[in-house]
Amino acid sequence: MDPEQFCSGFRYKRDRTSIMKTGKSEVVAKAAQKLSWFLVLPLVLILAFFLILPLVTIGIVSFWDYNEWNFFPAFIFDNYHYVFTSHVTLATYLKTLKFTVLTWFFCVTIGFTVAYFLAFHVRSLKWQIALFLLCTIPFWTSNIIRMISWIPFLGRNGIANSILLEMGIIEAPLEWLLFSDFAVVLAFVHLYALFMVVPIFNTMMRIDKSLIEAAHDAGASGFQILTNIIIPLTKPGIMIGSIFVITLVMGDFITVRFMSGGQSASVGRIISNEIALLQYPAAAANAVVLLSVVIFMVAIMLRFVDIRKEL
C-alpha cells in the first residue's frame, strides 16, 4: 500500500521539491514521506484490526479441527472437503442465488421506477426531498420488526387471506403466502428496495437535464430516451444498488429463517447453524467460500461498470 496514494497533496509537494533538486529539498521530501505514512496510519490500523485480522483469523480457523465444545489448531481440509462434496452446498447456493436473483430483479424494477419518478417527474426539490423521506419512513424501525410484521399479514388466517376470502377472489386460504419462497423474496424486496432507490436516485439526479433535452431535440421518443440515455447513464447507480442488495441477500440468515418458517436454507443460515453448534471451523470454511463467491460476483459486476465516478 503506497501511502502517497492516500495523500495526493503531499505527492504534489514532493514533485515540486524533486524538481528543485537541492539537498534541503530531499530532507523536506523525506519528512513529507514520513508525515504521509503518519497520516495514513489510522486508516491502516483500522483496516488491519477490523478487516484484515478477522478475515485472516477466519481463514486460519477454517483449517482447524473441532469437537462438541472446542476447536483447536490443526491443518485439515475436512471442513472444505465437506463444503465442496456435500450436495447440500450446491442446493443451498442455488437456493441462495435464486433468492438473490429474484430479489435483485424486483429491487431494480422498483428502485428504478421510484427513483425515475422522483428524479424526473417530481419537479420541485422540496417535493423530491419530502417524497424521498417518505420512502425511508419504514426504515426507521428495525429490520426484524419490518420482517415479522408480514407474518400476521400473510398467514393462513391473516389479513391478506381474510380480505381475499371476503372479496370472494379465493375459496380457500392461500398457503404459499407465508413460510414460502414467495414470503422470503417479498420480505427481502421490502427490506432492501431502498438500497436500490438511493444510489439510482443519486445517479439520476446527476444526469444533466440538458442531455434529455438534447436527446429530445435529436428526435428520441420518451422510451428511446429511457433506453438510450437514462438507463446507460444510471448504470453505476444500478450497480452500486445491486452490490448492496446482492451482498445483503447472499449473507442473510435471519430473513430466510423467519419468512420460510425455517424450511429454506441459505448459505448464511448454514453458517449461523454451525456457529450455534460450536462448529466454528466448519462455519469459517463456509464463510471463506461464501466470501469468495460474493467477491467474485462483485468483481464481475465491477468489470462491466465503472462506479468510481459515483463515489
Partner: protein, 433 residues
C-alpha cells in the same frame, strides 16, 4: 462488561481482606464441611457476593433472584438465552458466569471443556431426597432406564477434578438436578377433531402443511426418532445414540415428508412455537409444556397430548463455574441447597415442571395444586400459576396424569450422540432440502 469487571475487583478485595483477618476461623469452617450455618462474619460478607447465573428462559426467572436476595441476602444476576447460546457460553466463555443452568445434554457436550467444576454431594443437604431418575436412572426400582442422554449417565464424575463421566454415584455431581419434564406433541384439538394417540400422526398426510417440528438438532432428532420408531420404519439400537445408518434413515423419512409439504414451518424459539399454534398455522407440532400453557392462556384450546410410545424427556440442573472458589463457592452451595429446599420447586411445579426433590416442594404448594400437578388428580378449584394467571379451571385433569404416569413413560431423553457431528450435518441437510 465494565460493570462486571468492577464488581469482580470489589469482590476479590473483600475476599482478600476477609482471608487476612479470619484465616483461622475460615479454615475451621471449610474443614468442617458444615454448610448449614455460617459464622456471623460469613453471613455479613455473603451479602456482598454477586453470583452470575445464565441459562434458558425456562428457569431463569426474576422471582427466583428476588427470593434469593430475600432469603440468602446475596445477589443473583440472571441471563436468559436460547439453548444454542447457552451451550456456546458454557463452552467458550467460562469467565462470564458463576452458575450455569443447563440441560443434561448440554452438560454432555461441554463438560469436557473443563469450564465446570464437580460438586461435592456431601454438601448437598437434600441429596438423598433427589429422585432416582437423576441418580440411578430409575424413577422407581422397577423402572426401565430410558434411551438418550439420561441425566444419571452424565450426572456424576470420578472426583473433584473429574473430566469424564462416572456410571455410579461417586459423590461428585456435574449438575445438581433442578427441573425436568416429559415432552410430547402439542395439538389443536378443535382443528383436528379426533383423538391423537401416536407420534406417527406428526407425519400423517392428513396434517399436510399443518405440522411443525423444532429446529434444534439435538432435540428435533429425538422427536424425529420417536416418530420413525412409532411408524415402524426404523428400529433403533439406542435412539439417544444413533448409528450413521439410523440417522440417515430417520432423516430420509423426514426429508421426504418435508418435500411433500408436510411441514408448515420449523421453529427455534418458544415464542415461535406459541405463535404457530395460536394462529392456527400449525395444528400438531413438537412443543414444550409452558408453550402449551401460553397458547391456552389466550383462550385457544391446546392439548399436550400423551402418546402411547411415551415421552421425550429433558432435564436441567445447575453447574458451577470452574472459576468459583472461596466465599463465592460457598455462596453457590448455599444457593443450590436453597434451590432444593422447596420454594423454587413449588414455584416451578406450579408452572407444570417437576422438581428434583418433589417432597420439599409440597410444602410450598396447596393440596389442590399438589394433587393436580403431581398426583394427576382432578382440580378442585381453579389452578393458578405463581404469576396469578389461571392455568386450568376446576375439574381439569393434567394431560398425561400423575408424575409417575408421565415420568414413568419416558421413552428417551434429549441427547448428544457419539455421531453428533454427522447428525448435525444431516440435520442441516434436512433443513436445506
Amino acid at each position: 462488561m465494565k460493570k462486571t469487571e468492577n464488581s469482580n475487583t470489589e469482590k476479590s478485595l473483600s475476599r482478600r481482606s476477609f482471608l487476612k483477618g479470619t484465616a483461622a476461623s475460615a479454615g475451621a469452617v471449610l474443614g468442617s464441611g458444615v454448610v448449614t450455618g455460617f459464622p456471623t462474619v460469613w453471613a455479613q460478607n455473603i451479602k456482598n457476593v454477586t453470583l452470575r447465573q445464565f441459562g434458558t428462559g425456562v428457569s431463569n426467572l426474576n422471582e427466583v433472584a428476588a427470593k434469593v436476595k430475600e432469603d440468602l441476602g446475596f445477589t443473583l444476576e440472571m441471563t436468559a438465552l436460547d439453548s444454542d447460546s447457552v451451550t456456546q457460553r458454557a463452552a467458550t466463555q467460562p469467565k462470564s458466569f458463576d452458575i450455569a443452568d443447563i440441560e443434561y445434554w448440554i452438560c454432555k457436550k461441554v463438560w469436557g471443556s473443563g469450564n465446570l467444576q464437580a460438586m461435592d454431594t456431601s454438601k448437598i443437604k437434600n441429596y438423598d431426597k433427589i429422585v432416582g431418575t437423576f441418580k440411578s436412572g430409575k424413577l422407581t426400582p422397577e423402572s426401565v432406564i430410558a434411551q438418550g442422554t439420561a441425566p444419571h449417565t452424565v450426572g456424576f464424575t470420578e472426583g473433584a477434578n473429574g473430566t469424564t463421566f462416572a456410571d455410579n454415584e461417586t459423590g461428585w455431581m456435574t449438575l445438581i438436578p433442578t427441573i425436568y419434564n416429559a415432552d410430547t406433541l402439542g395439538i389443536r384439538p378443535d382443528l383436528i377433531g379426533r383423538p391423537i394417540e401416536s407420534w406417527t400422526e406428526l407425519l400423517n398426510p392428513e396434517f399436510k402443511g399443518k405440522a411443525s417440528i423444532l429446529d434444534i438438532s439435538s432435540i428435533g432428532i429425538m422427536d424425529a426418532a420417536m416418530v420413525c420408531e412409532a411408524m415402524g420404519e426404523v428400529t433403533y439400537g439406542d435412539k439417544g445414540n444413533m448409528t450413521k445408518e439410523e440417522i440417515d434413515k430417520t432423516m430420509a423419512i423426514f426429508t421426504e415428508a418435508k418435500k411433500a409439504g408436510q411441514f408448515r414451518a420449523f421453529w427455534k424459539s418458544f415464542d415461535e412455537s406459541v405463535n404457530l399454534m395460536a394462529s392456527g398455522e400449525v395444528v400438531i407440532q413438537s412443543m414444550w409444556s409452558p408453550a402449551i400453557t401460553a397458547v391456552r392462556s389466550k383462550g385457544i384450546p391446546c392439548v399436550y397430548q400423551p402418546l402411547k410410545e411415551g415421552y421425550r424427556s429433558w432435564g436441567g440442573g445447575l453447574g458451577l463455574s470452574a472459576n468459583l472458589s472461596g466465599l463465592e463457592l460457598e455462596a453457590a452451595y448455599e444457593y443450590i441447597n436453597w434451590y432444593l429446599d422447596g420454594w423454587v420447586g413449588g414455584f416451578l411445579m406450579r408452572q407444570g415442571y417437576y422438581s428434583a426433590v418433589p417432597e420439599t416442594s409440597k410444602n410450598y404448594m396447596s393440596e389442590d395444586e399438589w394433587g393436580f400437578w403431581f398426583e394427576g388428580k382432578e382440580a378442585k378449584g381453579d389452578i393458578t400459576n405463581p404469576f396469578g394467571d389461571v392455568m386450568e379451571k376446576a375439574g381439569a385433569v393434567r394431560d398425561g396424569g400423575s408424575f409417575y404416569d408421565r415420568m414413568g413413560a419416558v421413552a428417551c431423553w434429549n441427547a448428544v450422540m457419539d455421531e453428533n457431528k454427522y447428525m448435525v450435518r444431516k440435520w442441516n441437510e434436512f433443513i436445506a432440502a
